[in-house]
Every structure is written in structure tokens, then in C-alpha cells.
Amino acid sequence: MNETLSYGLSVGFFAYGMMIVIAGLCAVLIRVIVTVLAKTSKAPAKASSKAPAPAAPKPAAAARAAPAVPVPGSAVDDGVIVAVITAAVHAALGAGHRIVHLEEASHSAWTRDIRARHHTSHSPHR
């Protein structure tokens, strides 16, 4: 029994240790990929901007101000779009729902509908 337990523990801990090392390497790999690709994507942008650009707000400030800034070349501002979407969601789903995130749709309505069905599959009749 002791032999069985010690064999099981040694194999188990060895496998767990290997998993920790490889998972850690994956995390480092991810950080390296993100860092390297972020730098390479910024480099061409810097090279192409020869003329001095007008003073831009800092990223954090820009993010906070974004909802109130009108979209250039657009007749409506983002606030109006958010209001329209909010009204549509309220009309479709009723009160008690909050919009957490908005982004441009990257997949078809069919795919989104199937995804929504999957994500709500645990309470199919509610």
C-alpha cells in the first residue's frame, strides 16, 4: 500500500510539476508575443507620421471622453447611438437588463443567434 501510494504521489507530483512549468512557459510566451507584436505594430505608425500631429489627449482621458465625442463625418454622435441601442434593448427584453459592452458585429446574425441560444441553454424556458 505504501509503495502504491508513493508511486502514485511521485508520478502525480511529477506530472503536476511538469504542467506548472509548461503552463508558466505558455504564460511567458503569451507575454512575449503580446509585447513584441505591440512594439512592431507601433513602429510603422511612428515612422509614417512626419507632420507634427495636433496635441492628442492621453489614452486614459480619451477613453473616458469617448462617449461624448461626435464621430467625425457622422450626423449623429455616439451618445445618440447608445441611446437608440438602449431603447431597442429595452423594447425587446424589457427592464432589468444592462448593456455591458458594445462593439461592431464581426459575425453573422445567424451565428450570434446560435451563440445566444447556446449561452442560454441551461435555462431554455426562461
Binding site: 502514485g8 502525480g12 504564460a27 441551461h122
Partner: protein, 403 residues
């Protein structure tokens, strides 16, 4: 006509009457269990997509046992014990689900198809934004596999069978199927059935575990709004390609699963919308349907009633519970390290079981605080959980594979 017996007309009842007592009890119990799975799936307690076909398959296969020439009993669904070319070819022409079982199930194809579909659901951007925290939680979420393996050996299972059963702690259905097919083909049916039954239970059971372990004050913690750089599709593809090649180089035995998973990720990010729609809809849901149905049909009493099933039931629940506690422990560690700014419930998502545990985490947190949004963090831990489960299973398979 004078020798006609009513049971000759109704062979399902005749085989029941002629069976050994433990088979009679087993068949009736499994019919009841199948009906219960349908009910719980319908009510939303268990995963409906899997449990409804599985439950009906389980109930029906135990009702539809008939006599074959020579007095043997069997069904017209499939014969998982068929071996040898001639026997398999014969069964392929008789049993209606035998082609699915032989050509998609027993070689792991269906596990790879489900993984391909899961890959299209995974947004690796979440883990790429917070790789270290996500991986830390995922490592904690593998504790169940670590603990269940030696306990399984102590309970009398050989090392390869204990390891295959312990992978239930990784909470990844296709991974359990794949690992048990390679490590313990002789009992892969009960291992996979037990694994999927328990994975179906996570949605109903984990919320109670979270509430028992994490105080309401901690469950209500709102995650701070961190400035994170959006990860581009190109970066996600680079990660998927490099990780797929690297992990396949290290563990060729699990390379089919790695390829399926990361191919799904690449299809998602590459903008190939026709492939994306195909794999994330028809392939994923088609494979899930047949997975559930075949698993249910495999639960015929004479196949599933193995003395080891009781051990598997104990080990499976132990593995999943300890993995969940490990994930929550990891969440607690991050809570204390961040000075109370990290919601520890995110840890439950590190157990994997994509995307159920992430949804469970958000659901429990929302019940404690309507304004707390943890889903992006939970999905990061969720994706990391898939990766660590695959790595852990691959290491165990490499160490313990026979022959």
C-alpha cells in the same frame, strides 16, 4: 399456438425476466436514470444539449434488449465490445449507431470535433491580456486530478486507469474521452459516462460550493476597470500557431487535440466566416448531439455494470470537487495579494468546462452584486483551464501509456 408465451411477443420484457437479478435492477435503474436526466436537462439543472439525447438513449437502450440467435441478448443500437474485423463489419451492417461509434467515437474523432468547435468559441484575447493570473488560477484548478490519481491507485485501480479517471478533474469532456481511450480503453465507456454526468452536474452543483466557501462580501467584489490593450486577431493567431506547434512537439500523443483546439481558435480569428459558421454551429452541435446519444446508448446495463463503476463515481466527484476548491483557493490567493480587489469566484472558472464554469461564476457574482462584471476575467481563466488540462492529460498519457 398452445406453446405461445406472452413474453415471446414482448422481447424487451422477456430479456428482463430472463436476466440475472443485478442486470434486472441495473436495467430498471438506468431507465429511471435516463428519464431523470431528460427531466433535469429540460428543467435547466443539467446541460440540456447533452443530457436530453443522453437520457433518452440511456432509457431506450435498456428497454430495447432482445434475444439474438443462440440465446444471446443484445440491442440493435451498437456493440462496443465487438472486436476483430469480421465482427465489426457484421455489426456495422446491423446496428444503426455502430458506424458513428466505430468511425467517430472509438478513435477519438468526436472528441477532436468537439474540441474544434470549442476552439471557435474561445477568445484567447482574455488570457492574453492577463496570462499570469489566468495560468495561476488554471494550475490551481488542476488540483483535483493531482489528488484523485494516487487515491484511485489506493482504491485498487491500476496506474493507467487511475490516471484516466483522474482527468475528470480537468473538467474537459473531450479530454476525458481522449485520455481514457488511450490510457484505459477497457473501461473508457464508464469513465466517459461518469465524467460527462458529473460535468453536467457542475452547473447545478458549483453554485452551492461557491456559496459554501466564499463569503458574500467577497463574492460581491467589483473588479477594477483595468486599462488593457485590445489584442488583435493577428496576435491571437500567432499565439495559437506557436502554442500548437510547441505543445505538439512536447506531447505528440495529444497532438490531435492540440491541433483541433488551436485550429478552432485560428478559424475564429482568421475571418474565414464560412468555416467559422460551420465549426461553431453544425459541427459543434452535431458532434455534441451524437456524443450525448452514443454515451447514453453505451449505458446498457450489461456493459456499464462493472464493479469499478463505484470507484469511478467516487473518484470523479472527488476530482471535480477538489479542482473547484483549488480554483477558489487560487482566487482567494489573488484576492489577498490584490488587497481585496480581486473577486475570488473567478477561480471556479479555472476548472475549465468551457464556458459553463465562467457562466456559473458570473451568475453567482451577479446574485451577490448586480454591478459586478467578472466574465472577461473568468473567460481568461476558463481558456487557461483548457490549456492546462490538455498539458496535464498529455503528461499523464506520455508517462503511463501502455504498449
Amino acid at each position: 399456438m398452445s406453446e405461445f408465451h406472452i413474453l415471446d411477443l414482448f422481447q424487451g420484457l422477456a430479456t428482463l425476466a430472463a436476466a440475472e437479478p443485478h442486470i434486472i435492477i441495473g436495467r430498471i435503474f438506468l431507465m429511471g436514470l435516463g428519464l431523470l436526466l431528460i427531466y433535469l436537462g429540460h428543467k435547466g439543472v443539467l446541460e440540456a444539449l447533452l443530457m436530453v439525447p443522453m437520457g433518452l438513449g440511456m432509457a431506450t437502450v435498456n428497454a430495447g434488449v432482445l434475444f439474438f440467435p443462440g440465446g444471446k441478448t443484445g440491442t440493435l443500437f451498437l456493440d462496443p465490445l465487438a472486436s476483430g474485423t469480421d465482427q465489426v463489419m457484421t455489426q456495422l451492417q446491423i446496428n444503426w449507431l455502430q458506424p458513428i461509434y466505430t468511425f467517430a467515437f472509438s478513435n477519438g474523432l468526436i472528441a477532436c470535433l468537439v474540441f474544434l468547435g470549442i476552439g471557435t468559441l474561445l477568445d484567447v484575447g482574455y488570457v492574453m491580456q492577463r496570462p499570469f493570473r489566468s495560468m495561476f488560477l488554471a494550475i490551481c484548478g488542476e488540483l483535483g486530478t493531482l489528488v484523485a490519481f494516487p487515491i484511485g491507485m489506493l482504491m485498487g485501480l491500476p496506474a493507467h486507469e487511475a490516471a484516466a479517471t483522474a482527468t475528470i478533474g480537468g473538467a474537459d469532456g473531450p479530454m476525458v474521452l481522449f485520455a481514457s481511450l488511450i490510457l484505459a480503453p477497457e473501461i473508457f465507456v464508464p469513465i466517459t459516462v461518469v465524467g460527462y454526468l458529473y460535468l453536467g452536474l457542475t452547473y447545478g452543483g458549483y453554485p452551492y460550493l461557491i456559496k459554501a466557501v466564499v463569503p458574500k462580501k467577497m463574492r460581491a467584489v467589483q473588479m477594477p476597470n483595468e486599462p488593457t490593450r485590445p489584442i488583435s486577431a493577428g496576435e491571437k493567431m500567432v499565439f495559437a500557431v506557436v502554442a500548437c506547434l510547441l505543445l505538439s512537439l512536447l506531447f505528440p500523443v495529444a497532438a490531435p487535440l492540440f491541433l483541433a483546439l488551436f485550429l478552432g481558435v485560428i478559424v475564429r480569428e482568421s475571418g474565414l466566416n464560412y468555416f467559422y459558421d460551420l465549426f461553431s454551429n453544425q459541427i459543434l452541435y452535431g458532434a455534441t448531439f451524437f456524443l450525448g446519444l452514443v454515451l447514453g446508448v453505451l449505458c446498457e446495463a450489461s456493459t456499464i455494470l462493472d464493479p469499478k463503476v463505484l470507484i469511478l463515481l467516487v473518484l470523479g466527484i472527488l476530482a471535480l470537487t477538489i479542482s473547484a476548491l483549488g480554483g477558489l483557493f487560487g482566487g482567494m490567493v489573488l484576492y489577498w495579494l490584490s488587497g481585496g480587489k480581486y473577486n475570488p469566484v473567478i477561480g471556479i472558472a479555472a476548472v475549465s468546462c468551457v464556458p459553463t464554469t465562467a457562466k456559473v461564476a458570473q451568475k453567482v457574482v451577479t446574485a451577490a452584486n448586480k454591478n459586478a462584471i467578472i466574465l472577461p476575467h473568468a473567460l481568461g481563466a476558463n481558456v487557461s483551464g483548457v490549456i492546462t488540462s490538455a498539458i496535464f492529460a498529455a503528461v499523464l498519457i506520455t508517462l503511463l501509456r501502455q504498449g
